[in-house]
């Protein structure tokens, strides 16, 4: 049964973001604010970088604010001014990605002014951006979200969150379904999913952690991953992508949202996050960690699989 999710606080959030952005821009705390603004279609939302206090009224927060704005701070995106402190509007999941970037020495905390959003969830698809947020239209990542209230930010609007509606754990259910299959059934499943891939690399472009100057799959001496959108190259790319994000992915789900072919990319990421939590007891959070699970080790790590 679908149930409406209470997002009445989002208008208060919009007000709070505007007031704060106006204040920090006019007193010179920051040189720019990265936030959301309305898009062309009714209800549509797009990212915006504002540098003048007068533009603060353009900012807003609605259920269509799906983008992870942390991606604009990585060195892969060069259109954000690099001078002075930058303010950025972040949901809990986006903040975890940003914390991961700080841990990987991609950003400095003192160069940032974090505006955290107490979030009740966003839409899964923005094809119809003005649709109502219900238990059916909410993004899958929000169903399993445990960190609705960001921590360690410079400013979090004082808005009390409504008590969360019980939601179906979509990824957990899908992972359990796949784990119960035989290896050949799983191979068939992924073969079909990867067959849809057109190698547009939207998943890479939108990922805050894909900041390499040159991606391994763009290199051709030696060529480790076939570049054309053919079966073997697609499979290798998606396995490699999941492996490179293992232990780093914060679960913002942008890869899955950006995928034009609806490949369940975040499912691979969630599975790896689950496994790494079981193996090494680590997961993405709001605390900056110097070393991720795959860049550190313990002498007594499990080696039962090694002969």
């Amino acid at each position: 049964m679908t149930q409406t999710i209470d997002i009445s606080r989002y208008s208060a959030l919009t007000e709070a973001i505007r007031t704060e952005a106006r204040r920090i821009l006019s007193d010179g705390t920051v040189s720019a604010v990265i936030g959301y603004t309305s898009g062309r279609r009714t209800g549509a939302v797009q990212p915006i970088v504002i540098t003048a206090a007068d533009d603060a009224d353009k900012l807003l927060f609605t259920a269509a604010c799906v983008n992870n704005l942390a991606v604009y701070l990585t060195k892969a995106k060069k259109d954000v001014p690099k001078r002075g402190r930058i303010a950025v509007v972040l949901k809990g999941c986006d903040l975890k990605a940003l914390v991961g970037l700080i841990g990987e020495s991609q950003l400095k905390r003192e160069d940032l002014y974090l505006i955290g959003i107490p979030c009740s969830g966003v839409l899964g698809s923005v094809l119809k951006p003005d649709q109502e947020l219900t238990t059916a239209t909410i993004a899958s990542k929000c169903c399993e979200c445990t960190d609705r209230l960001p921590q360690g930010c410079d400013f979090v609007p004082a808005v009390d969150l409504p008590s969360p509606v019980p939601l179906e754990q979509r990824y957990a259910a899908e992972i359990a379904r796949l784990e119960a299959m035989t290896p050949s059934e799983r191979w068939e499943y992924w073969k079909e999913q990867f067959s849809k891939c057109i190698k547009c690399y939207a998943c890479r472009q939108v990922c805050p952690f894909c900041f390499c100057e040159q991606c391994l799959c763009d290199r051709n001496r030696p060529q480790m991953v076939e570049q054309s959108p053919r079966p073997s190259g697609n499979t290798a790319w998606h396995i490699m992508r999941a492996m490179h994000l293992a232990g780093r992915c914060a679960g913002c789900g942008e890869c899955e949202r950006a995928c034009p072919m609806d490949i369940p990319l975040n499912l691979l990421n969630r599975k790896m996050a689950k496994e790494l939590k079981e193996l090494f007891g680590t997961e993405a959070g709001f605390e900056v960690q110097d070393k991720g699970p795959l860049t550190s080790f313990k002498e007594d790590d499990d080696q039962s699989f090694i002969r």
């Binding site: 073969k191 959108p229 396995i239 490699m240 193996l279 090694i306």
Partner: protein, 166 residues
């Protein structure tokens, strides 16, 4: 101790990614000690198990390997202090990913073989070869390599309708 050569219907191709300091020396010891082990294994030497990227394993399967062996120094014996500790975590994660994708994990073997363990090298290689021989050829990745671009297939009703309307 020359064993009689056996004829098999299927000779698996095994790629062994080994570290130069321990397992390569161990394999060398097996050779100089005149120990017999299956010639199915193709050894690729790396400076350290920490240098072995999981993508090499994928590439090996794509290029026709039926089984992959990754072998290096015992924990604590790494020439580069901690390379094998990092490799251990990486491969623990990679195994889980391959399992989830649907690859039979008995085709991928990890082992620690020191420079003094020529006998263990023979044992590991023989075991893996016989296990992969029993499993038969690894067809999944090879089939992928032969398949044409899926997105170009016109068996999709939507695409077919558009095509016919043109």
């Amino acid at each position: 101790m020359h064993l009689e050569k056996q004829k098999h219907d299927f000779e698996p191709k095994i790629i062994a990614f080994v570290c130069t300091w321990c397992t390569y020396a161990g394999a060398d010891l097996a050779g100089t000690s005149r120990m017999q082990y299956p010639a199915n294994v193709r050894v690729v030497k790396f400076p350290c198990t920490g240098r072995i990227d999981p993508v090499f394993i994928l590439k090996a399967f794509q290029q026709g390997a039926d089984g992959v062996l990754v072998s290096g120094c015992h924990p604590g014996d790494c020439h580069y202090i901690a390379g094998n500790f990092h490799a251990r975590r990486r491969f623990a994660a990679f195994r889980k990913l391959m399992e989830f994708i649907g690859v039979d994990l008995s085709r991928i073997q990890f082992s620690w073989v020191s420079a003094a363990e020529g006998g263990k090298w023979v044992e590991v290689v023989t075991d893996l070869t016989e296990r992969v021989r029993a499993l038969g050829p690894m067809v999944e990745f090879k089939e992928l390599a032969l398949e044409e671009q899926w997105s170009g297939n016109l068996n999709n009703p939507e695409l077919q309708a558009v095509y016919e309307a043109m």
